[in-house]
Amino acid sequence: MQIEFYFLISSFLFAIGLAIVVTRKNAILVLMGIELMLNAANINFVAISQSAPDVGAGQFFALFVIVVAAAEAAVGLAIVLRVYDYFKTIDLDNINELKG
């Protein structure tokens, strides 16, 4: 399997993730988009680790990204719940009281 293919998938997932982040109104869906973007980067790391001289590095990076993503998701959902407490919605369109 050539490494290019991995990168191809990852760039597609990255673009889709970004699109989700920007378009979807629901905060939780946006969070899903972010997870997709992280996964995209992970695919790259894992793919490269197949041929890099320092074999572990890419896989380690992927492992740590997964761990950090878990922490981030927990914090993110906590904040989403707090927002829901106050706004009774998690529609990002309506969470807009701080004005420039």
Partner: protein
């Protein structure tokens, strides 16, 4: 790189000078921490410290009469560069020191009476001390960077003093305006500093003097002794940029707009800061950097000065506020000084700086005395004690002030036997010599503007004296107007004596014989200024005759136009507010400079800033709007497609409204994600640009 390693030692003269600097600072500190109930005592104490400072500075002057003293020490070191601080006392500095201290002393005395009962009495005296200290800092500093530091401090304390009556909206605005306009000039100062730094790696004036002596100019390059070379244009730019700082402080064209507004401050402050000392700092700066200026820069200075002299004089012609007339006249006189500097009349310009400091302080304090008297008298509630339309006939009520005003006014006009005559003639003589040295007729513009200003000065000074002191009083109770206390009278008398020419020259008709001017040496510049090569030196007598006859013409004209029996005087009241023709409004509105800045800079600036703000906070919404519209159009197309190919019209209409609804809804809000969108777009653009 570092030429300075030996630190020059202290000697008695520099220590004395340092003491002169510390005394007002001490007064500032003591007054700030003292209790409010001791404030009158404190103000006497402040005056006393100023007296001591004046005496000390006279001692310094005697020592520095024929010798230059220089002391410095390391301030900080950065990489291989050493920044120093120090004192440089040459004759101009010592004279300036005496002038500043002496006038500050008189203003302190005057203020004790003038500010009595004011709410901010203590604050006022404290700031006065701070101002004096920082002004002395400018005078003594041996280093352009240190000068800049005190330059800013002076700006700050002037800001605080102009805004002394801050509850008046106008005063607060004027303070801000003065501060900001000054800062615009300071940008020039900073640019000049950076060029000088680049070329010489030092700010020390003494070193700069010797380095400038060793520069070479070849092939349009400006080569310093250490081998660093820059295009010659940068030397001109450096000179003009530094001069730009002076334009700001000395209220020269095009930045003179702040000075008239600054008259919102207490009158003694106007006398000290906006007539005698701070505004003269610009001229003093030009004197300090004189050797750095090449011919082009000097010509620029001369033209700026001449234009300002004329503009200020014209603007003074139609003012109604007693202090504003004086403010515009200050602008005009400062223009004279800079014009003198520009034509190489270094000595004459400094001489005019000193004579002007005294007689203009005298005029301001006399005006202050009038205002004070009118305040204390019983007038109607809405009586404006500064408006000349409310005055007239005051010579009987305040005779001492009247005498002082006339004496100082004559000095301002440049009447022979008064101090102003000596210095003004010296400047005019040199402008003429300078113009002769140039081949083109164009350069005669400067002496013409100079002589023209003499005429107009005579007119506006006479006008003011006639309107204020002659005829009948226009207010209600002329009897209740009393001359002020002995303290104020004493101060005025001292200043009016200084306006008489004998104090400055043994022969009051001939400036070359002035004890002062003959001692000031023109620093040797690397450039031929053009004075020496003059093919024809005009006779001194001729210049004096021309200027005196212009002056007398002006006085006669003014008498005919503004005499108490005349039509102008009778019509001159609060009811006839409007200037009558274009020229009068041009003068009254100070050449519409404020309006000009408002339309050309401030309004567009406001627009730009609100635009920038809109961009930062709303651009995304705009973009969304735009694309919202795009998607509406898109949805129309889709709808049309639907209607044409898929479904019946009814369905299509329902669909269409639904689509339009979604599209418009997406126009609103959506900040959080729009931010992200904007950031990502920014990144793409950056990548695209790099590639």
């Amino acid at each position: 790189m570092t030429q300075v390693n030996d630190i020059l030692d202290w000697n008695p003269v520099t220590i004395m000078a340092l003491l002169v600097f510390c005394l007002p600072l001490l007064s500032f500190i003591i007054i700030s921490i003292s209790k409010e109930k001791h404030q009158v005592l404190m103000s006497w104490l402040a005056s006393l410290t100023m007296l001591m400072a004046s005496l000390l500075s006279i001692a310094v002057l005697l020592q520095a009469w024929s010798e230059v003293y220089h002391t410095k020490f390391t301030w900080f070191q950065w990489a291989e560069y050493i920044f120093t601080m120090g004192l440089l006392i040459d004759l101009p500095a010592a004279l300036m020191l005496v002038t500043v201290n002496f006038i500050a002393f008189l203003v302190h005395l005057f203020s004790i009476e003038y500010m009595k009962g004011d709410e901010g009495y203590k604050r006022y005296f404290a700031f006065l001390g701070l101002f004096t200290a920082s002004m002395i800092g400018i005078v003594l500093a041996d280093n352009l960077l240190v000068i800049f530091v005190f330059w800013e401090l002076v700006g700050l304390s002037s800001y605080l003093l102009i805004g002394h009556w801050f509850s008046k909206e106008k005063a607060a605005k004027a303070a801000t305006k003065a501060f900001i306009v000054n800062r615009i000039g300071d940008i020039g100062f900073v640019i000049g500093l950076s060029i000088i730094w680049l070329q010489f790696n030092t700010f020390d004036l003494v070193e700069l003097y010797s380095l400038m002596g060793n520069i070479q100019v070849a092939d349009g390059m400006w080569i310093s002794a250490s081998g660093s070379s820059l295009s010659l244009i940068w030397l001109t730019v450096a000179g003009i940029a530094l001069f730009f700082g002076a334009i700001g402080k000395s209220a020269q064209f095009p930045l003179q707009i702040w000075l008239p507004d600054a008259m919102e401050g207490p009158t003694p402050v106007s006398a000290l800061i906006h007539a005698a000392t701070m505004v003269a700092a610009g001229v003093y700066l030009v004197a300090r950097i004189f050797v750095l200026l090449n011919i082009d820069a000097l010509t620029f200075i001369a033209f700026t000065g001449a234009i300002t002299a004329m503009m200020g004089a014209v603007a003074a012609l139609t003012q109604n506020d007693i202090k504003k007339v004086l403010a515009f006249s200050t602008i005009s006189q400062l223009g004279y000084m800079l014009m003198g500097m520009g034509v190489g009349a270094y000595d004459a310009a400094l001489f005019h700086l000193f004579t002007h400091a005294f007689f203009k302080a005298g005029l301001f304090l006399a005006a202050g005395s009038i205002i004070h008297s009118l305040h204390l008298s019983n007038q109607a509630n809405d009586f404006d004690a500064q408006d000349m339309r409310n005055m007239g006939g005051l010579r009987k009520s305040v005779p001492v002030t009247f005498i002082a005003y006339v004496l100082c006014g004559l000095a301002l006009m440049g009447m022979p036997i008064f101090s102003g005559f000596l210095s003004k003639d010296a400047i005019l003589l040199d402008t003429l010599t300078w113009a002769n040295a140039h081949q083109s007729m164009f350069f005669y513009l400067i002496p013409i503007l100079g002589f023209g200003s003499v005429l107009i000065t005579a007119v506006y000074v006479s006008r003011q004296i006639l309107l204020v002191f002659f005829g009948e009083f226009k207010g209600q109770e002329v009897k209740s107007i009393k001359e002020n206390s002995l303290l104020i009278k004493g101060v005025l008398l001292i200043l009016s004596i200084m306006a008489i020419g004998v104090c400055w020259s043994i022969n009051p008709f001939y400036s070359e014989m002035s004890w002062l001017m003959s001692h000031i040496e023109i620093p040797s510049s690397a450039f031929d200024i053009g004075m020496l090569s003059a093919s024809f030196a005009p006779s001194h007598l001729m210049v004096s005759l021309i200027s005196t006859s212009l002056l007398l013409t002006g006085v006669v004209f003014a008498y005919l136009k503004y005499r108490p029996e005349g039509q102008y005087f009778r019509n001159y009241s609060l009811e006839t507010l409007k200037p009558q023709n274009f020229w009068q409004s041009l003068s009254y509105e100070n050449w519409y400079l404020d309006q000009f800045y408002q339309t050309v800079f401030i309004n567009p600036f406001h627009k730009i800033t609100s635009f920038a703000k809109a961009i930062d906070t709303h651009i995304i919404d705009r973009m969304v709007n735009l694309f919202g519209m795009g998607s509406v159009i898109f949805s129309y197309i889709v709808a049309w497609f639907d209607r044409a190919f898929v479904d019946g019209t009814v369905n299509a209409v329902v669909f269409l409204t639904g689509r339009v609804g979604t599209a418009t809804r997406s126009i609103h809000g959506s900040k959080a994600q729009s931010y992200i969108l904007a950031a990502v777009i920014g990144l793409i653009i950056i990548i695209f640009l790099i590639f």
